[in-house]
Symmetry: C2
Subunit: 411 residues, 2 copies
């Protein structure tokens, strides 16, 4: 508990760390993102929205309006549940997807990341099992690791979660707490779960009395095809739904929301009260003002157009420059990412190092997204943050490295 130093006892911090955090290390992806910040690097690494699309003028107007008309309220403490008019706006908006929500079903959070943490805090006992895709969203693993669950993974294919495998897992494992899925434009995989799989998944969950965490940060960013019903619209009582303003408005506001039954929201509110009292009142007032004025819908339309083009440019360049044999990748209908499976001989970490050094191109090696290890021959590519010309150039350079590395390992 103590070490002697210069005649004083000082705390040995390594020893006093709680067990849950002993093994926690800074995520490998953060190191990658540091490399990718170099402006000379063509980065497909981060999950950043394109900052040139942020509605800065609208934010300025909203700040002016809120501070002129509601300054005292916007700067004061507020309720843990969140600013009611914004919750009403969200309730109205999700109606169009068939989600029957009232403000009592909604909790506003500091981005979806806090929603994931609160879910872990409220539901996870040490050793509980969670079913996730393989690969799955890294942020969820980071949020839940401190609660020390175990992850049981099911593979995904180009249509997302292999729902048939979920039932196999549930038959075998009796300690599953919940199933975590990203049905729309999966991070990192870029897949979208078809309607039949959605229906089958909520059926299986209901049959085994398991609930579902539906993570939907990208749902509004669809570039082709029809909107599909969220899982929560198919079985309201069994699904906890998460979404965010990060991808439609701006991530810097850190504002997301949870939709669930009132009983679940009440528990999450208690957890959030201990976690940070409430989300910034000021941010909630500003975002409400922007939403309320009807700015979000046309703004999202503009984002879709730009990202759709970037996705198309990336896919076309990959067709042209990536090796074919043993390579396969997703064709995302929306979102920010696509995922590449490569021949087993290729190591994405090594490729990353070569790509940055020799070609000035960054991506994220896929293994970070495998909760139980694996995925060494996979990578995630982001297409939202680079202009088309740089995407073309970056994919061309990356293709060259891939071909070269492929030849090297075959020798």
């Amino acid at each position: 508990m103590k070490t002697k130093l210069d005649g004083h006892y000082t705390t040995n911090w390594e020893e006093v760390i709680a067990d849950r955090m002993k093994e926690a290390k800074p995520s490998a992806i953060r190191e990658i993102l540091k490399v990718a910040q170099d402006p000379t690097v063509i980065s497909f690494a981060g999950g950043l929205p394109a900052p040139e699309l942020f509605p800065i003028r609208e934010f300025r107007e909203a700040c002016e309006y809120v501070l002129t008309n509601n300054g005292q309220q916007a700067l004061q403490y507020g309720p843990t549940e969140g600013y009611r008019p914004l919750k009403e706006w969200i309730a109205e908006t999700v109606m169009k997807y068939g989600v029957p929500a009232v403000p009592e079903n909604i909790l506003l959070t500091n981005g979806s990341q806090q929603a994931l943490d609160l879910v872990g805090k409220v539901f996870l006992n040490e050793g509980d099992a969670i079913i996730t895709d393989e690969p799955t969203y890294l942020g969820a693993i980071q949020a839940w690791n401190p609660y020390r669950p175990k992850y049981i993974t099911v593979p995904l294919d180009k249509q997302g979660t292999r729902v048939d495998k979920v039932e196999e897992v549930l038959k075998e494992h009796k300690d599953v707490k919940f199933i975590y899925v990203l049905p729309n434009f999966h991070n990192p995989a870029g897949t979208t779960l078809p309607l039949e799989r959605r229906q089958k998944l909520v059926e299986i969950a209901a049959k085994y009395g398991i609930f579902i965490i539906e993570d939907d940060p990208y749902g509004e960013l669809r570039y082709e095809g029809e909107d599909l019903p969220p899982l929560i619209s198919l079985h309201k009582e069994n699904v906890i739904y998460l979404s965010t303003f990060s991808k439609t408005l701006a991530p810097g506001v850190r504002l997301g929301w949870i939709i669930a039954s009132e009983q679940v929201i009440q528990k999450l509110v208690i957890a959030k009260q201990g976690s940070d009292l409430h989300t910034s009142t000021f941010i909630q007032y500003i975002v409400y003002d922007i939403c309320h004025r009807g700015i979000l819908k046309p703004h999202v339309k503009r984002i879709r157009k730009v990202y759709r083009e970037r996705r198309d440019v990336m896919l076309k360049a990959m067709e042209e420059h990536f090796p074919k044999e043993g390579f396969t990748w997703t064709h995302p209908e929306g979102g920010l990412f696509l995922f590449v499976w490569m021949p087993e001989e290729l190591d994405a970490q090594k490729l990353f190092e070569r790509a940055v050094k020799e070609a000035g191109v960054a991506f994220v090696p896929g293994s970070s997204f495998y909760p139980n290890g694996g995925g060494k021959n996979t990578m995630r590519l982001n297409f939202s943050c680079m202009p088309p010309e740089r995407i073309k150039e970056g994919i061309k350079r990356l293709g060259k490295i891939l071909k070269d590395e492929l030849e090297r390992v075959k020798k």
Copy 2:
């Protein structure tokens, strides 16, 4: 795990809640604050800063400046550690209190409440003991309860923590993880720890190899006497220091900070990354702009003047209207609160109900601040949020109820 309803299995949420949250209930204080929100009630209940003092014009200017000059950065994702220029500003500011900090010693958080939660997440194993005052800050108990520690309390007197009792506890208990103290203008007690007790406390902590959580949200709000050195300036390596912009600028920004050794900050950063990625970039840019322009110092001077007057008005009215025998209260040198110990026969919860109903006056019964129960004959009075005339009137009415209740119980 499941109950059958209308032919569907639906989740029985009570059953799937994690053990850590099973007993968590909405805090009693929230119900009290709801009553106190009635504008006809004279409220000494909340811990709200006076909203008429919020620097709204300065916020408007800051929003305009930030969005015009740094809009893209301020709305984008940012580092978990926080916005570096703001950390540099904090480091410079705390220097005047003798705290030798560089940005690497600082983590920005969503108010002090998140700092408390992160401390719990990083350090508390189930069953670890924490030494706290009795009474102590309710928000700390709420933050830590999910990590299931036990609380060993030491009494406080009008000079704050009975440091002599801390050593007694440490001799007896070998499972103490840390000591939690609020040396300046304690919430709820309004006490300030004298220099000798500060020195003694860090000595004892060092002797037993225990670290200290120093919570200092009110340090800038001193109305009389000299600033005293924070504990962290007396023994940097053993102290984790928490503060916030909530009381000096505005609580609606939800912005606080932790100062600790670099090693501790690194662990807290990993925990925060899982909790919510980072605090709102936009909020950090705005608060930095306000701080950077030198607005905070004269603004805090203005707050001090107003709150000092309100404290004086409350203390004078209490002298005049409160019963004397068996009553004692603190004379706070700063902060927002004072604390009243009443004769054992009086029940503050019952008094609260009578005061609201018969006199339209609200306060917080002190028992909420006793982690292991007790304090039924105590109450916390806030003096920052009501104008002087209402303070006078409220204390007069409350005094009448107290005298009446005293007579009633003596019969």
